[in-house]
């Protein structure tokens, strides 16, 4: 009887384990999403909203935008499209913060940068998100969804990995939904951007 109970318990654990929900959505869907294709140029969208002097200096942009994204000083740029209203983005933020720390730890901070763009979020809303999750990288607002529309009206969180070329930024990778391993994600960024 004890063995039976253990058997059922083991099966229930397997059925209810997070892995069994792999097919459950891990992103807030956006009706009509048409992500931009890997290999294409990333549109020169404006970065809107104030950033701290330190972050502005790191990105090589003025503190107060709007600044065209092509002005950002980076060999590879990870652009997170998020929303403070998206529970998946909220859940993913500690992992993205880990990714930022890992970039620093690996000595890549001068070459690989991360920014976030808050789809449909005002400066106030972006600030709430920044403070709540102690986000160490620059976040920009997109209150009118104009940037969101220009980058394919994607679900959130959505990650574009961009490589700097003489013409601007080119998309080398894209990812919808939660990041499960910052190390794997960074390895992919390094490989795809040819760093």
């Amino acid at each position: 009887m004890k063995a039976l109970a253990l058997g059922i318990l083991a099966a229930l654990i397997l059925l209810t384990a997070p892995g069994s929900q792999a097919l459950a959505a891990e992103a807030s869907e956006a009706p009509g999403a048409k992500p931009l294709a890997v290999g294409t140029a990333f549109p020169d969208v404006p970065l809107i909203g104030p950033v701290s002097p330190e972050l502005a200096d790191s990105l090589g942009i003025p503190q107060n935008g709007p600044t065209p994204i092509a002005k950002v000083k980076a060999e590879a740029l990870i652009v997170e499209i998020f929303s403070m209203y998206c529970p998946f983005c909220q859940r993913d933020t500690p992992t993205v913060n880990e990714l930022a720390a890992l970039i620093d730890k690996r000595g890549l901070a001068g070459r690989v940068k991360i920014i976030g763009i808050g789809a449909g979020n005002s400066d106030t809303e972006v600030d709430i998100f920044r403070k709540k999750f102690k986000v160490p990288f620059a976040l920009f607002s997109d209150a009118t969804f104009a940037v969101h529309s220009a980058v394919g009206q994607v679900g959130t969180p959505y990650y574009y990995v961009l490589k700097k070329t003489p013409q601007g930024f080119t998309i080398v990778a894209a990812h919808l939904g939660l990041i499960h391993s910052p190390a794997d994600f960074l390895a992919d960024v390094v490989a795809k951007a040819g760093l």
């Binding site: 397997l14 097919l23 459950a24 992103a27 809303e125 709430i128 679900g155």
Partner: protein, 201 residues
């Protein structure tokens, strides 16, 4: 036999697990949103104004309790967020945002109540998908839209407007945003109004 039974049970459950995982309807909030076309921005006539007394209410919540205006009078400023309907696109993204702004509400000595005109079981199932909400969620289902009607935000199809009300500790309405139902209101103006009311002595 005693050893075989659990193994068979485990095998059977493992066998049906992939079928369960392959359910064509993805789970969770994101996978179960009912598509809604663009609607007329508003479809009602406000019955209150800034400076009006907040109409009394006593509504059931998803935790089995009730929320009443008298719970807050003299104690807390009160923000009431009406969203039109559970399981619809904009509404499903609104309260998860308020869920990370708790500190700001508390800093302004303000409580928050979320209300829709859905019934309690629907509201319960829907909000469970948002994680743990820190604020009470109440139903204005029966008499249908009773509070929404007193406020003048009951639409002709039986849902409420997407509306925000800030009520001060004296029970006076201090801020109203009956928003375009198709869009989420920016939290900024509400937070400014909360700070202004809180700053009054």
């Amino acid at each position: 036999m005693r050893r075989i039974v659990p193994l068979l049970t485990l095998a059977a459950l493992l066998w049906i697990a992939p079928a369960m995982a392959a359910d064509p309807i993805p789970g969770g909030l994101a996978g179960n949103i009912y598509p809604v076309p663009t609607l007329p921005p508003t479809d009602s006539q406000l019955a209150v104004a800034v400076g009006s007394p907040m109409p009394d209410f006593d509504l059931p919540t998803i935790t089995g309790g009730r929320v009443k205006l008298s719970d807050y009078l003299g104690k807390k400023n009160l923000v009431i967020t009406f969203v039109p309907a559970a399981w619809t696109p904009v509404c499903s993204g609104q309260w998860p945002g308020y869920n990370i702004a708790r500190d700001i509400f508390e800093d302004n000595d303000a409580a928050l109540i979320g209300i829709t005109l859905d019934n309690i079981p629907t509201l319960y199932a829907w909000t469970r998908q948002m994680g743990d909400l820190w604020f009470p969620v109440a139903s204005d289902f029966w008499p249908h839209g009773g509070l929404a009607q007193k406020l003048g935000i009951l639409r002709s199809d039986g849902v409420s407007e997407r509306a925000l009300f800030l009520v001060d500790k004296k029970g006076v309405i201090r801020f109203i945003d009956v928003h375009d139902i198709n869009a989420r209101p920016d939290l900024g103006p509400l937070l400014e109004a909360m700070a202004k009311v809180h700053a009054e002595k």
